[in-house]
Symmetry: C2
DNA sequence: TTTCTATAGTTCTATATAGAAGCATATAAG
DNA sequence: CTTATATGCTTCTATATAGAACTATAGAAA
């Protein structure tokens, strides 16, 4: 209730320093996805700032997609959806046109020594053990995407205790519930290649036919790398559309 | 100098109506790329609005990437670069690491009856004549991307009068100078396919090896379709990177 | 139960004002 | 000719204030 002093670099504008504070409140768990952020009024009293300054800070965080505001209801921490993912552009649709989450089937889950490239991506020591998975995503039993997934053992040990059959079609909610790990953002990179014999077998296509390859490094709110994933999908079912200016 | 009334739908907020006016000033050519926009002060006097409201309108247009502001210098209409294009993600680089515009070589330029799919994209009557081009883009004489380009005859007739040898490595400046047509934005869509015999010959790769295919519909400020383009490039030289949240 | 109404909270819009900070140009000083 | 200084412009930050518009809830009325 009492007024708090603004922390942070004095040379920065006040609204940026307030935004930094609220950003940290999220990354350090004091504000969780779905939570209500204190109202403009509450913040302006708590930090003894004019409402316009508070509003500017919140506007910044809304622009960053960290918060979302609802007229008359309040300001909330946005739940990260991964709709913007490149995955969205595989033509994942059932014959009747309804969009649905494709089935996710874990083919293998083992404890392995992590390859050095992936160790660097996940920022764990080379030679450490990690969880390795092979996963297939299907629509109506037709395989669309084959995935290779690596998880750091330290954070995800509990994931080994549950049955792969009990894992649903989405992994990130399981990471949250079983391991307490929240995925907040990710980097993805895309290229195409000719299908290897292994990939062709999984996707039931000809060896050498084109496949899209998407690498994803998923991270927590604080930027810690959480999951590395390489997905290969049939190129003929992939279509990415964008507007440029 | 005198105060002008705000046009537009009375029910909309003032700052949105001012933004609409300025947006139209651009689409209708009263403000051209690179031009200076009247200062906050001039606008607030001209429309009799408080400076805060004017600023909010300009902020909106900056967010849309239509304007850019420079502290102490002024506000300007942004020159559309096409850096965000998917093209950027072909590894266009010379051995010494310096980035450069790849060479553009026009292989063919003819007057053709436009295929119906492209007619629909360009919004011209089916069966109309149009300019058809085949173009190759190379780095150090190594072909990277092969392009098929269609232009509506009506706007681009003057383009037929110049020698293809005189066309430089960039087409859009030529469209502007020779035909007075400004490209402002574009839609692109990306997929991958196996190289046809023709594509393989142009790119000097094996038939059937994977190529990235990018379709682009380029438009003017008012949204009029200007150019349709299909580009095929070696998939092994393509790499797209993005961040999602 | 259902429907209306008042109320207190929220975000959103708009105004007015003041000064800081950055940039470009003209002018003065060396 | 070169360098400093002053000036007038620009955008940027911050405050204070007022009311509109929207939402949820509680309580009254039908």
């Amino acid at each position: 209730m009492n007024a708090q002093p603004l922390s942070g670099d004095q040379r920065l504008p006040i609204y940026q320093r307030l935004a930094d504070i609220l950003r940290r409140d999220v990354t350090e768990g004091r504000l969780r996805p779905g939570d209500r952020v204190p109202s403009d009024n509450e913040l302006s009293h708590a930090y003894e700032l004019s409402p316009g300054t508070v509003r500017k800070a919140l506007d910044l965080l809304v622009q960053e997609d960290l918060f979302e505001r609802f007229h008359g209801r309040g300001t909330f921490v946005r739940r990260p959806s991964f709709d913007a993912s490149l995955f969205r552009f595989f033509r994942f649709r059932t014959p009747d046109g309804t969009k649905s989450v494709p089935e996710g089937r874990i083919l293998r889950r083992t404890r392995e020594k992590v390859p050095s490239y992936i160790a660097r991506q996940l920022k764990i020591p080379e030679g450490d053990a990690a969880i390795s998975m092979s996963r297939l995503r299907l629509i109506d039993d037709v395989p669309i995407v084959a995935e290779e997934i690596w998880l750091p053992l330290q954070r995800f040990e509990a994931f080994l205790d549950i049955l792969t059959e009990d894992v649903g079609n989405l992994l990130y909610p399981v990471y949250d519930e079983v391991c307490g790990q929240l995925i907040a953002k990710a980097e993805e990179s895309l290229t195409a290649e000719a299908a290897s014999a292994e990939t062709a077998r999984l996707l039931r296509i000809e060896t050498g036919s084109p496949v899209m390859m998407i690498d994803r490094l998923a991270k927590g709110y604080d930027g810690t790398p959480m999951e590395w994933r390489r997905s290969r999908g049939r190129a003929d079912l992939f279509h990415y559309h964008t507007e440029i200016r």
